[in-house]
Symmetry: C2
Subunit: 426 residues, 2 copies
């Protein structure tokens, strides 16, 4: 099979063409306890006022403010304590003239009372009489129903990822079950005759299929449900049949080859035979220039390189935003940060490079150290990288100390990290 | 029950006293596909050389370098192509004088060959003859077995959290199953007569139990296995019995109250009755000054405040490092960063404050915006915060623009974030 002529496009054009594809995910309703890291399928509103009733912010006594008119050290007012209530209880009594109810923080204000005086400002004469030596105003020390937030206020947005704070809000407002987006099912097919299963003994000429497991882990982290669908040998018919049948079992399909070159020779022809609409099959980036994507009847196929670095980067740059878009997230791309480059990259490259690196901080100043540039690092960089340095392609190199755009592998993500890149003709 | 006199200690002393406790977790061996976010129970070493055999980094021809001696445009050398192999295959032939084997990237170098010449530097005369017009040196274009990494090299450390890159390494080296630390079982007990279950209708005087669900979500994120063990009313005997019986079912126990004050009056007396060794029961921090911890027969009990903010902060500052320490992680505390404060906090406070906030970046400069300072924010801050600003206690306030220590709720964590704090007498 001859290698087809490929049209090369910039990274952000490839990203945009992926985001232009629509992809509808169903929703499902699940128990709150299982909702961590899922994406909300609807806006969440408060189901009651906060506080839900007039309550006391302190331990103290609920009183009628008017009973303290004129009270002073010289002329204290004596009130009868008619009840004592803890949080969670409601007094059945009504506070009448000359009466008070003792209450704990969070307890509801009893009927008849219109103010609270704090415990430490009161003298307890005996078990049923208190002495007040100051004037209290109506409303003093009462947290009024709804004063924090009214019922019906939106507190979480559709597409939010559920984290511990969101769980607290959902519990507070009685969301025992939560409507979330179903996880997109992502099929993963590894191609390459040289691939062994993870459990197989190494034999001459072969290597183990690590990319499929790596992609599965990336997909889980993004919020999808990976299905490793096995391996295909380097054979056109078997690869074609494997891809078509895999597509029936997933929402999105990712293929990855075994080594760096040659694995993708079949893909353009397979896309053509399937009648899939090609989005791109060559990108001005290193690693991963042979990354491809095609739309087959509304399902996207990603052809990631078999080179582990290229495969990793392709999944983060293209598959991530596609899946997060379907999950209604608003920050679908990797987070972005300017960092100080800690190595020289003096040799210019016409393609934009993505360099696996570690971002760290000196106080508030972030710097990025490329990992895995030496040979042994090509293995360990997989363990250590927490970011990708973006080195725009062109006629210049990059010196140690340069400020470079850096994409963060962990954390919140960004709305569109490519603006700076586009402006600088990345 | 009278409130006992409590001895107040600085935050980092409380953290240190927690880390001084030992806590042995068992290990378990699980399938690689289920190992995401788990903590390795052993160092991981390469099980073979990388590359595992001498291989070609390019598409080309394996040759004997000596056959090209003196080759030039004027005097090309002609070689017989005796075999053609793809990645994953091994040639059964031995390259003899005047012979070559065509191979694809990643293919093993056949016997007899000692160099590779790239496809594009060769003229193919016919299907079995190539013409070479330059001298090739022995070793040219051969990736030698073990040149990247030798067998037995450590690539992942005990205590590492398993992420996609680590999964790729484990797959590459045949770790079909992975030895990880068992998840610590964390019991969660909510105390407070005012608490309703999440599914219950709101009734006057009561609020729903949101802290238990929030803590469960935090524990999962940290790497533990939360068990919500129900609610206890504000009653000494019932709370005592509930705690003792809960401790039998978990490695660590967290209690949390329902509202801000009063909930913890029982705890010191309960610790005493149990014969638990108190680590601390008052900390110079806001919120959460009444946070306590005690050691009962080698199991730690954390008494977190019932105030949602205090409960959240207490779990992140004290429970997190205790669990991660048991999981052998090396960065057991929240990540730390200096940021520019975006609000005035002019009123001094003798206690160290932890202010829920959002960290964002302008280019490479991080700034932090407190969330939830207004009343309505007390609800929404749970949704929006991604960090805690640390405002050291003392006699001064903090102005907008100050550089402040900030703890990050997401990402990698830190080894010990309190150094700066200690130096600045936080």
């Amino acid at each position: 099979m001859p290698i087809e002529k490929r049209k090369i496009i910039p990274v952000w054009e490839a990203v945009r063409s992926v985001l232009d594809q629509t992809f509808e995910l169903p929703t499902e309703t699940i128990p709150l306890e299982e909702s961590d890291n899922r994406y909300l399928a609807e806006d969440i509103k408060t189901t009651h006022d906060v506080p839900p009733f007039d309550r006391s912010p302190y331990d103290g006594f609920a009183i009628r403010a008017e009973d303290t008119n004129g009270a002073s050290k010289q002329a204290p007012v004596i009130l009868n304590v008619i009840d004592s209530i803890g949080a969670g209880h409601v007094s059945e009594k009504t506070v009448q003239e000359g009466e008070a109810v003792r209450l704990m923080t969070g307890a509801a204000i009893p009927k008849g009372a219109n103010a609270v005086i704090m415990l430490e400002l009161v003298s307890e004469r005996d078990s049923v009489h208190i002495e007040i030596r100051r004037t209290v105003l109506p409303g003093d020390n009462i947290s009024e129903q709804g004063e924090d937030t009214e019922q019906g206020t939106q507190i979480l947005k559709k597409g939010s990822k559920i984290h511990p704070g969101a769980v607290a809000l959902l519990a507070t407002f009685g969301y025992e079950r939560v409507k979330v987006m179903k996880k997109p099912v992502v099929g993963i097919l590894a191609t390459g005759t040289e691939l062994l299963d993870v459990g197989e003994e190494l034999v001459p000429g072969k290597i183990r299929n690590s990319n499929a497991y790596m992609i599965a882990s990336q997909i889980k982290k993004i919020g999808g449900e990976p299905h490793i669908l096995g391996k295909l040998p380097d054979d056109f018919e078997q690869t074609y049949t494997g891809i078509v049948s895999a597509l029936e079992r997933c929402d999105v399909l990712i293929t990855t080859g075994g080594v760096s070159v040659g694995d993708f020779d079949h893909l353009p022809a397979i896309y053509k035979k399937m009648g899939a609409k090609l989005l791109f099959n060559k990108i001005a980036m290193r690693p991963g220039s042979v990354t491809s994507a095609a739309d087959y009847k509304g399902k996207l196929l990603f052809g990631l390189s078999g080179n582990p670095s290229a495969c990793f980067v392709g999944c983060e740059l293209f598959v991530r935003p596609y899946l997060l878009n379907a999950l209604n997230a608003d920050k679908v791309h990797l987070g972005v940060l300017k960092t100080e480059l800690q190595e020289d990259f003096l040799k210019p490259n016409p393609f934009t490079r993505f360099v696996r690196s570690r971002v760290e901080w000196r106080g508030s100043a972030p710097f990025s150290v490329p990992v895995g540039l030496d040979k042994s690092g090509s293995v360990s960089s997989l363990a250590e990288a927490n970011a990708l340095i973006v080195l725009p392609g062109g006629t210049r190199g990059w010196e140690k100390g340069s400020e470079v755009t850096t994409l963060l592998l962990d954390g919140e993500g960004s709305v569109w990290p490519w603006d700076l890149a586009e402006k600088s003709k990345l």
